[in-house]
Amino acid sequence: MDASDQMNEPINQNDGLAAEACTQKGTSPADMLRIKQQMSNHCFEMSVQLNAGKSKRSCSASEAERGLPNYISELERVKMVHFNSTLALHRMQMWHAIGEKLKQTDPDAAALMAVGDRCMVLCSKIKELQNENRNLQENITEIQKKRLELKRLTDEKMKEVEELMSNKEHPDSEKYKTLLEKGQATLEKYKKMTTMTQNVLRGILLACKVNWLDDPKLRETALTLEDFPISD
């Protein structure tokens, strides 16, 4: 395994280099951690390079590309799980540390307690405000419902008024029509009566051979009879 021997040599030399760097620069623990991360990344890349040469499986580039999305999504899933677990672990560690701290009676612990109390006060205030908010929201919804209802009623009333407006001319003309018809009927009746009376009078004058030419009053009446158009 020549390649891995070559790889191990650089790794050992890396440790030597790292020790050198520490003594030279006087690096802080954070820096050392960072450098360690960097080195582990490099080692990972080199091992990837080595493993790439090992499995001499022949497959075309397009085949490999087709399988790529699956691998990537698997990788992302694993990374996400790892990240979430790390977060959860850090959270647990933090809480444990805070709990331990609170058990002691340092000025730090007192400060922590003060912060905790303030958080409680703020949270209860938040709850109050949220309740108020919810009540106000409910009131607003009620008022909006009422307004909607009123609007609906107004619409109905408007429709009714419009209907009435369109119907009003008709009843008046109805009455007017009936009156008119009545008047006309009466007129017709009286016309008929007059015609009949005139016919009777003419009949009487003709039948009795009354001499109407001599008497002026009689003559007038008879002339009107002749001129009177017989309406039928």
């Binding site: 280099l17 760097a21 450098i35 960097q38 080195m39 582990s40 990972f44 999305p69």
Partner: protein, 184 residues
């Protein structure tokens, strides 16, 4: 035997090394200065006109984490020389340690063929393709910042991320994009 190999030297502690390859040597200097200014960690910038790199500096040259080819779209020579230089790069570099940067794309409206050729090259080599506007100092700073992000990953300074992983996220598509085999 002057191929540039990625793993032939020891990595540098807490530093990142970047090689800017540009035929015209216009943008390199400004970009190099912006790179060195911007970052918190030490950045080692080497400039070159083309590969292969001269043999005299072989011993003193640090391990290069990222090779950036700067292509000017308004000239044909830069594309050709970049193509030639690609031959002198070890294949190990193409797993995320090579990046293409294109400048003057807005003046190349008549040369869509060249732009297409560059995109095809970047897509076939699975390398990220950055477009930079380097006429103004803000543009240079922005380009330097983007390069710095990729450089940090390539030199291992970002925990839990390797350049191979990043290269999956920064691939560019071949033109025309229509018949790109998508994730069916």
């Amino acid at each position: 035997m002057s191929v540039l190999k990625p793993f032939s030297k020891l990595p540098n502690l807490d530093t990142a090394s970047i090689l800017l390859v540009e035929n015209e040597e216009q943008v390199q200097q400004g970009l190099a200065e912006a790179l060195v200014e911007d970052s918190a960690q030490a950045v080692n910038v080497r400039l070159a006109r083309s590969l292969p790199l001269p043999l005299e500096n072989e011993k003193t040259r640090p391990r290069i984490d990222l090779v950036v080819f700067i292509l000017n779209l308004t000239s044909d020579k830069s594309f050709k020389s970049a193509n030639e230089s690609l031959k002198y790069l070890d294949p190990g570099y193409f797993l995320g340690k090579v990046c293409f940067m294109v400048t003057n794309a807005r003046y190349a409206s008549g040369n869509m063929g060249r732009l297409d050729a560059v995109r095809k090259m970047a897509a076939s080599l699975h390398c990220p393709l950055l477009f930079a506007e380097v006429q103004s100092p803000e543009g240079v700073t922005n380009a330097a910042r983007r390069l710095l992000t990729i450089l940090k990953v390539a030199s291992g300074l970002v925990p839990n991320t390797s350049s191979l992983y990043l290269s999956n996220l920064t691939r560019c598509t071949k033109p025309p994009d229509i018949d790109q085999p998508s994730f069916d």
